[in-house]
């Protein structure tokens, strides 16, 4: 099944335009069919939930209801809603989950939907994030097979953000703290992926709007650690993260008197490039912190030759505990 319902989310046409464009650029080469939910509305981000419970969940549920209706209207229509935006993904998944965990909520929300001639039975649809679909449905092998311009030598930190791997109601991710899905995908593109302990730390979310100081500190931690580890580029899966780190980096520098220059791109943009698309086709240049220098490193098509390197000196220390196999890790997460 490579047919999915798409919930783009508001940012896709605005702040996250590069994301939207790059997604369009890669889908057909991966034989994915995204069918936009007709007349979808805003998921309420993190704001609406803070005002009223039922309205917030009704707002979200309207989208699910529309999606379910759209899927029911066609013979074996798609049952998976794909959200490229982490916040949207979380809100949709959360509504679907809580309406089941607490039936009385489900009843009320449906009463509200009724007023609009809609209804949604929680659990009817699968809510998944784009990268989940790419890694687990399309598969890394397929992705790798499409790579014509490997990102060899591109030192990138994978930044998952917080709302994607958590709370993870349906156990879709390898780990809550250090999920490896993005790492694996970037490696499949040939990139030089740096282990990034802050991969699921927060970018500040809406705090850039309501408490900038708090947000700036969070942004600083992320950018500083990435820089410390020698990254020239951050790759993200979330428009909010991209927006905060990209658009507010300059202000953050002002605030702390630092001078970081850490471009951040959507992983789909990197996929596009690796698949041989031209920068402008995948929205390169829309970022405020320019990625020109970073990308220059892969602009050339010569394969990077591995230096033989000095002979490994004998390790005298105590042995490390055995690393988990992917399987063991999956088991353990259950």
């Amino acid at each position: 099944m490579n047919k999915y319902l798409l919930y783009p989310g508001c940012s896709m046409e605005s702040s996250g335009r590069a994301y939207g464009e790059s997604i369009n650029a890669i889908v057909e080469s991966l034989d994915l069919h995204f069918e936009e939910i007709d007349d979808w509305n805003c998921c309420g981000a993190t704001e609406y939930l803070g005002i009223n419970l039922i309205p917030a969940y009704s707002l979200i549920a309207r989208n699910l209801a529309l999606a379910a209706r759209q899927s029911a209207a066609q013979t074996n229509g798609p049952h998976t809603v794909v959200a490229p935006c982490s916040a949207c993904y979380l809100n949709l998944a959360k509504a679907d989950y809580y309406m089941q965990e607490r039936p009385s909520l489900g009843v009320k929300v449906n009463e509200a939907l009724e007023a609009g001639g809609l209804q949604y039975k929680a659990g009817t649809l699968d809510v998944r994030h784009l990268i989940d679909v790419l890694v687990y449905d399309v598969g890394l092998e397929t992705i790798q097979s499409k790579v014509v311009r490997p990102l060899h030598g591109l030192k990138v930190v994978p930044y998952m953000g917080c709302m994607l791997p958590r709370p993870d109601y349906q156990h879709r991710w390898s780990d809550h703290e250090h999920p490896t899905e993005l790492d694996d995908l970037l490696r499949a593109l040939g990139a030089d992926v740096i282990d990034y302990p802050l991969t699921t730390s927060c970018c500040g979310g809406h705090m850039t709007q309501i408490g900038p100081e708090t947000a700036f500190e969070l942004i600083r931690r992320l950018v500083a650690d990435a820089d410390e580890r020698g990254a020239v580029l951050m790759a993200t899966v979330c428009p909010m993260c991209q927006m905060n780190i990209d658009a507010y980096q300059n202000e953050m520098n002002h605030y702390f008197g630092t001078d970081y220059h850490m471009p951040i791109l959507f992983f789909t943009q990197l996929m596009g490039l690796a698949f041989g698309r031209e920068p402008d086709e995948v929205g390169i240049g829309l970022e405020l912190v320019s990625s020109r220098n970073a990308l220059a490193q892969i602009g050339v098509e010569v394969p990077i030759t591995q230096e033989p390197g000095a002979p490994r000196k004998k390790y005298e220390g105590l042995p490390m505990p055995r690393r988990w196999t992917k399987h063991e890790q999956k088991e353990a997460v259950k």
Binding site: S14, N52, Y98, E101, A112, A115, C162, R166, Q209
Partner: protein
């Protein structure tokens, strides 16, 4: 009986008036909050990336809920600092739906008009207002309106960014509006009534 509460809440049997502040919050929270299960271990406060800016750690807030300190809790800036990163939620050994409790507290604070010294409630309301008019969020309007009102001085510092965003077409000048705004409105109005009667 904590488990009792969970099950009564799940079954919609419990009524608000016979619940303590703790259980009231529990009931107003999406899902089953497990709030009464908190063992005050501090995992949440320890995990929080923004804790240093909070006047109370989440854990302490829960203790205050138990103590019935309604006003102090609703005056706290903690829920407004929460960035909903869910670190606390996945780490909580008692499966307390911390982030959602924070949403509940925001809502309660706004209704009680108790939380004043931040721009956050206004931001939320501006945002909600926007969504209720257009059905979509609208960053430029939001950002500019919000900054004009709260950080007029910092707006200049923002201009290059805002300008950049616009010239790069990353902020629509005009908001998008959904087709069936009427339908959405009906749903939300009904939902608001339900909220009151809940």
């Amino acid at each position: 009986m904590p488990r009792m509460t969970d099950e009564r809440v799940r079954a919609g049997l419990a009524r608000e008036e016979d619940l303590s502040l703790l259980h009231e919050v529990s009931m107003k929270t999406a899902g089953v909050s497990h709030l009464e299960m908190c063992i005050q271990c501090g995992t949440c406060g320890g995990s929080c990336p923004a804790a240093q800016d909070m006047d109370h750690t989440p854990r302490m807030l829960f203790a205050m809920l138990r103590a019935g300190m309604r006003d102090e809790v609703l005056r706290s800036n903690t829920p407004w600092i929460c960035v909903s990163c869910y670190h606390c939620v996945v780490r909580c050994p008692q499966e307390v739906h911390i982030a959602d409790v924070m949403y509940t507290l925001k809502g309660m604070a706004i209704h009680a008009k108790l939380y004043v010294n931040s721009t956050a409630p206004h931001f939320s309301q501006t945002f909600v207002g926007m969504v209720e008019t257009f059905g979509r969020s609208y960053e430029l309007g939001l950002a500019s309106r919000h900054y004009l009102r709260h950080f007029p001085l910092r707006l200049p510092g923002m201009i290059p960014m805002g300008f950049g965003m616009i010239t790069k077409g990353r902020m629509a000048i005009m908001p998008k509006k959904i087709k069936h705004m009427d339908q959405l409105k009906k749903i939300l109005d009904r939902a608001k009534q339900l909220e009151l009667t809940s």
